[in-house]
Symmetry: none
Subunit: 225 residues, 2 copies
DNA sequence: AAATATTATATATAATAGATATATAAATTT
DNA sequence: AAATTTATATATCTATTATATATAATATTT
């Protein structure tokens, strides 16, 4: 079974239930939110584990576009917008702003599942596949890491930190960003803590440890080269 | 073989009689229901012996889709939907929700029997297999577990928990997921309960108990290695 | 100007105390 | 009996600290 988390945001509970049922049956774990404000809360609390968001456009309090914009400030999580027919005007708008896909209501479950799967695959969020980065294999389902074919034991934080770096391959990550993403919400600890974990990970990765590059004055970057 | 019970749900008595005759001739035992509500009652009373359900879509009181959904809450019994032509729209819908097969009316007896047999065969085979995982044999039909050839006694929860882990071999399962799958959906118990059962299972599995790995900070994982 | 030395700052490393998660056994409830 | 809860022990992880080392910028000497 996979362990992809999908956040479903819609004000109609019937629609949420419907989507939930389809996706749950396909093995996805579902989180729900009944309006835009709640969506942001749920996202904030679970941002590390959410792999995709299904976002209704028309909602009370805070509409889908506003939610989209706010989430895009800090995250690249794939977002599928659920639109009613006749909202095509807005579509172009949304595409520019970082919408990954549209589904117009009413839709068939087949369409829904197909789009969800396509996007997860495309954005490489699919937990199911084992990915390889220059001798480092990461199996997200099994939560195991192999280096040159041999399993290495990583603690929870080490695993989270490594996968975060790896998922952001070739991107220099500031300590702040790392703290906000690997540690929970506002963590006021010493940022030397990161260094400490980096050291241990590098050691466990052996010669592959050099893929974690120090970006002096900034943070770290994972780069296979 | 000759003890397969099939529940036929259709509001037209002519249709029920027709189906009943075909299938009885092939040696199946038939239970009948003339509407959705009655279907649920009959199912409730005989759920352990019903091997397959033939379910008409259009019925008074409670339609086929509603019956399907309710039964799927608690059972994986194979269900064949009987649809009138022109209901193709809904088909996709149902497939995702756990329909095993469709037969559109009018149908030939040959089609009917062929589909019924195919499905019974398919679902029986799945159940019948005794699977082996590194010295641990699981016989789902017999609900027994052997370790290195010797039967071990497991309580209900222990059996359910072990088979859940084993069926998700090599996948790290969170306590939440385990609770949601092995216990009821809304079980608010202490998650130390899981540990307690894990301990007992490990003990009963003897040296094979080490296949249940502790994923610190996450949960457990079954892994033969 | 080039080479070297100084200084300031950032990161690496190792050791340790404190926090947390799990194992285990025993008690309680169902 | 079985399932769950509770209490305690144990193992493991995490954050912090202190110190060493690396690096970059600047100043000094050749």
């Amino acid at each position: 079974m996979l362990d992809n988390y999908i956040l479903v945001v819609d004000d109609e509970s019937r629609m949420r239930k419907l989507i939930k049922d389809f996706l749950a049956q396909k093995g996805y774990s579902i989180l729900e939110a009944e309006d835009g404000e709640r969506a942001l809360e749920v996202f904030e609390e679970n941002k590390n584990k959410i792999n995709l968001i299904l976002l209704d456009v028309m909602m009370p309090k805070l509409d889908g576009w506003s939610v989209l914009r706010q989430i895009r400030q800090e995250s690249k999580v794939p977002i599928i917008m659920l639109t009613a027919r006749g909202e095509e005007q807005d579509e172009l708008f949304g595409f520019e702003l970082g919408v990954d896909e549209y589904i117009s209501k009413p839709f068939s479950p087949k369409i829904l599942v197909a789009r969800v799967e396509a996007i997860l695959k495309r954005t490489n969020q699919d937990q199911k596949q084992v990915k390889e980065y220059g001798g480092i294999e990461i199996d997200k389902e099994g939560r195991t890491v192999k280096v040159d074919g041999k399993v290495i034991e990583l603690s929870l934080r080490e695993y989270e930190l490594l996968t975060y770096l790896v998922e952001n391959e070739n991107i220099a990550l500031s300590r702040d960003k790392i703290l906000n993403n690997v540690w929970n919400y506002d963590y006021y600890g010493d940022s030397r803590t990161i260094d400490s974990h980096i050291k241990k990970i590098r050691h466990k990765l052996g010669k592959r440890g050099k893929y974690i590059k120090t970006m002096r004055g900034v943070g770290y970057k994972f780069e296979v080269k």
